[in-house]
């Protein structure tokens, strides 16, 4: 499969790990190749051990791998840890001053990054000097480095960055081996996006006009995206005093006719549970982006997990329909965020976009063709299309065949919109009449049934029947796909099914797929096999087992392949 170079930039927070890693991503694309980048960072502002891993291939990459071929180590104190995950034939470019004590490990190349940075104009450019060395190791011409730097920096700072990268590149010859040179390839313009950014863009493209949130990793990136990309398209953003306020705000904005969303993580979502239930009874469309991280409680704030599947499926008291989508890639994050906006309004239900830290912070280059400007279909009714009672008053909760009541918004002459968190009559006023209660419960249930008719089918890859089926939801999609490739090379044929919607659950489709394979394994980032339990509850079928991981890190393809083989 051609080249496969895994580069890791390591250092403390504040040393420019992210900047150097991001530069290497762009250099890979500029050289006509593709990348997949992940971040592994600690919950602190300065110091610690952070890593930015960039995997470069000739084909689009949708998973990472643990062993690094080239490490750029900005902090010598991190060196021992770095060597643990270094390939036997790999190299470490480590910031050690000239003439100082080096490392006994022959793979370590002591590079005077800070000294060279000072020559370029500032010691803070050590990361760029290092990126220049790595770029040379990859055979990327200095002119390309200059052009890419010009996209990011201007004026005097650009000159200094260029000087730093050039000094690094010149220092690299002949000290750094050229075995990792990328083959020549034609450049194609690509979108460079993280999962969080793609999700926010999809929501904005889906007509989101109001967003609120309280910062919480890994949901904050979505809030950043909404507050940056939303305003040019008329979105208003408000930082809430807490997550309870955030979702109540979004519901208020939705009542007033705005497509609205919030973004958070497990702890914040827990605070939103009552408002989620409010959206259920008010029948206000609203989208909640929920980025999972390991719990319970504060857990591991900056790491990944898929422990909140059961939680989002049942959060909120009472019974009400909801849509839960679980994107598996940046492309799906964009498409499903748009879909969430559309479906949430069409069925007047809350919609949860379930992601996790891994997908949130994963950056890839993507085909711009996979990011279309899809239509936004508003469903607000006006004037004579508004259902009314004999006195001419608007019936916000008019009983209809599919349970969806035409939605008008406050501000239109001749209409008053009454929305109530109590059980209510068709005109929205509170009631304790049990007959009305039954009619309203049935109405909301019918919406759920109508929603179910539009369930996104699971995506099946591989042979339509056979020995082994791998089942995942959300961010595991790319990892499972590559694990299948590894197994295929080793003569093990597998299929995989990716669930991009988990509620309403595609029960019939999953049942039919499960029946065609001898062994079915869920692959999920948790300890207890929540997806396996969901499948049992929804289909009555027992999977053969679960490949779980719950250390706070994402799966890697090689690991999944090995663990599948153990089960055969």
């Amino acid at each position: 499969m051609g080249i496969d170079v895994n580069i890791r930039v390591t250092g403390g927070a504040g040393q420019g790990v992210h900047t150097a890693g991001g530069l290497l991503c762009r250099l890979a694309v500029a050289a006509g190749h593709h990348f997949h980048a992940t971040q592994d960072y600690m919950s602190r502002i300065r110091g610690g051990r952070n890593a930015y891993t960039v995997r470069i291939r000739e084909i689009p990459v949708r998973a990472g791998r643990p062993q690094a071929d080239i490490v750029l180590s900005l902090d010598p104190a991190n060196l021992p840890r770095t060597l643990v995950s270094l390939s036997p034939t790999g190299i470490v470019v480590c910031d050690l001053p000239a003439g100082g004590a080096g490392s006994a490990d022959p793979r370590v190349i002591a590079a005077p990054l800070k000294d060279l940075a000072v020559s370029a104009g500032s010691p803070i450019l050590a990361n760029i000097v290092g990126a220049g060395i790595v770029a040379r190791a990859l055979g990327i011409p200095p002119e390309t480095v200059d052009r890419v730097l010009a996209l990011e920096f201007k004026g005097d700072f650009l000159d200094k960055n260029r000087a730093a990268a050039r000094l690094g590149g010149e220092w690299a010859v002949p000290r750094v081996p050229s075995g990792y040179s990328l083959p020549e390839a034609a450049f194609h313009p690509r979108l460079i996006l993280a999962g969080n950014e793609a999700l926010a863009l999809g929501a904005v493209a889906g007509g989101c006009k109001f967003a609120a949130g309280y910062p919480m990793t890994p949901g904050s990136g979505i809030l950043l995206g909404l507050s940056a990309d939303g305003p040019p398209l008329g979105l208003v953003f408000e930082q809430a005093e807490d997550e309870i306020a955030a979702l109540n705000m979004a519901i208020g904005a939705s009542y007033a006719g705005a497509r609205a969303m919030v973004a958070t993580s497990g702890g914040g979502f827990a605070l939103m549970a009552e408002a989620l239930s409010l959206a259920g009874i008010l029948e206000t469309p609203v989208v909640v982006a929920m980025g999972m991280r390991p719990g319970p409680a504060t857990g591991m704030p900056t790491r990944t997990g898929q422990e909140d599947l059961a939680f989002v499926l049942s959060a909120g008291h009472g019974e009400f329909p909801r849509l839960v989508l679980s994107p598996g890639s940046v492309e799906e994050a964009y498409a499903l965020a748009h879909h969430a906006m559309e479906m949430s309004e069409a069925y007047q239900v809350p919609c949860i976009l379930l992601t996790d830290q891994y997908l949130a912070d994963t950056v890839v280059d993507a085909d711009p063709g996979d990011f279309p400007a899809l239509p936004v279909n508003r469903r607000i009714v006006h004037g004579s299309d508004v259902p009314r009672d004999a006195k001419g008053r608007y019936l916000r909760y008019a009983i209809t065949g599919d349970g969806v009541s035409p939605m008008a918004v406050p501000g239109e002459p001749g209409i008053t919109v009454v929305a109530d968190s109590d059980e209510h009559t068709e005109d929205g006023h509170l009631t304790e009449d049990h007959t009305v209660r039954i009619a309203m419960v049935e109405k909301r249930t019918r919406k759920g049934e109508a929603l179910e008719m539009e369930t996104l089918p699971p995506l099946l890859a591989g042979p339509p029947d056979g020995e082994v089926l791998l089942i995942g939801f959300g961010s595991t999609k790319g990892v499972i796909a590559e694990a299948r490739e590894i197994l295929s090379v080793e003569g093990v044929a597998t299929a995989a099914v990716h669930l991009r919607q988990v509620a309403p659950f595609p029960a019939r489709a999953v049942s039919e797929i499960l029946d065609r394979y001898r062994t079915a394994l869920t692959v999920e980032n948790n300890r207890t096999g929540q997806l396996a339990r969901l499948i049992r509850a929804e289909t009555g079928r027992e999977v053969s087992g679960t490949i779980g991981r719950f250390d706070g890190l994402p799966f890697t393809p090689g690991e999944v392949a090995e663990r599948v083989k153990e089960r055969l």
Partner: protein
């Protein structure tokens, strides 16, 4: 009263409840604003007071306990042409929703907030509220309230709220007048309304309030924050009613927020070309 805002929703309040008088005042005040029904949104939380919007024929958002203010803020942000009034109880606004009170006064959202302050949780049958007098024994605090009372007006003045007033449920005309001024105020306006609970609060009765309250004299300089703060602390001997504090020098949140305004959010479009422009900005191309 002409009754243009009347609804036929059944009244769930006790005979003699202060909420009935507050409802009269709200309807009078809304009539005096000259606004049409469709231009007004009444927002409430949960509790007996929070049922008030159901008795007024305007737009109604009856949300969660304590959460009226975030919804009211967002309705204003979505459509600043709407007049948004919050009516809820002391437990709702000062207890469950206290954080939202603090931060929406900070924002200076242009809403009028009427708190039916009866110093007791009525709907759940007689527990002390954040404003209950110390020593008062209700259910759940049977040996008497230990915590000091939340001072809503002092807190609002301290936070810089631009319109801080106290009404008296029994005096409908006086309270309606405060409400009209609160609605007209550009920014966050708080009217705490002393409301007898005829069933559960046998201390703070109509008679007690009648005896304890006095109208703030016309020579009170409501722009004097220190004097207003001193007034807000009066309670043990006598209780001032009227406008304690007002300032008009601070623009409301909606005027300062760069995205809020015309057109309202529901009328804003999402042109495909604008989406393409947004994506094009993320496209990595070489110069």
């Amino acid at each position: 009263m002409s009754g243009i805002f009347d609804t036929d929703v059944e009244n769930a309040w006790c005979p003699g409840c202060g909420n009935v008088a507050i409802l009269d005042a709200v309807k009078k005040a809304l009539e005096r604003t000259g606004k049409a029904k469709h231009e007004i949104v009444l927002v409430s939380g949960i509790g007996q007071a929070a049922k008030l919007p159901h008795h007024v024929d305007v737009n109604v958002f009856n949300g969660l306990h304590g959460r009226a203010l975030p919804a009211a803020l967002a309705i204003r942000m979505a459509n600043p042409s709407l007049t948004v009034v919050v009516t809820s109880g002391d437990g709702d606004i000062y207890g469950e929703g206290g954080n939202h009170l603090v931060h929406n006064i900070r924002r200076n959202t242009d809403i009028a907030v009427f708190v039916h302050d009866n110093q007791v949780y009525g709907l759940t049958k007689g527990q002390p509220s954040p404003t209950s007098d110390p020593g008062w024994a209700g259910s759940l605090q049977r040996s008497g309230v230990i915590a000091g009372p939340f001072p809503p007006l002092a807190a609002a003045i301290a936070l810089g709220c631009g319109f801080v007033a106290r009404g008296l449920a029994a005096d409908v005309e006086f309270t309606a007048d405060l409400m009209v001024r609160a609605i007209a105020h550009k920014g966050f306006a708080l009217v705490d309304i002393l409301q007898p609970c005829v069933t559960f609060n046998k201390k703070n009765t109509y008679e007690w309030y009648g005896r304890m309250t006095y109208k703030i004299p016309p020579d009170h300089d409501a722009a004097d924050r220190v004097r207003a703060f001193a007034l807000s602390l009066e309670w043990e001997e006598r209780i001032p009613i009227g406008v304690l504090y007002r300032r008009d020098d601070r623009p409301p949140f909606e005027e300062l927020h760069p995205g809020v305004g015309d057109p309202p959010l529901h009328a804003r479009e999402t042109p495909p070309d604008a989406v393409r422009d947004l994506l094009r900005k993320r496209l990595f191309t070489l110069p």
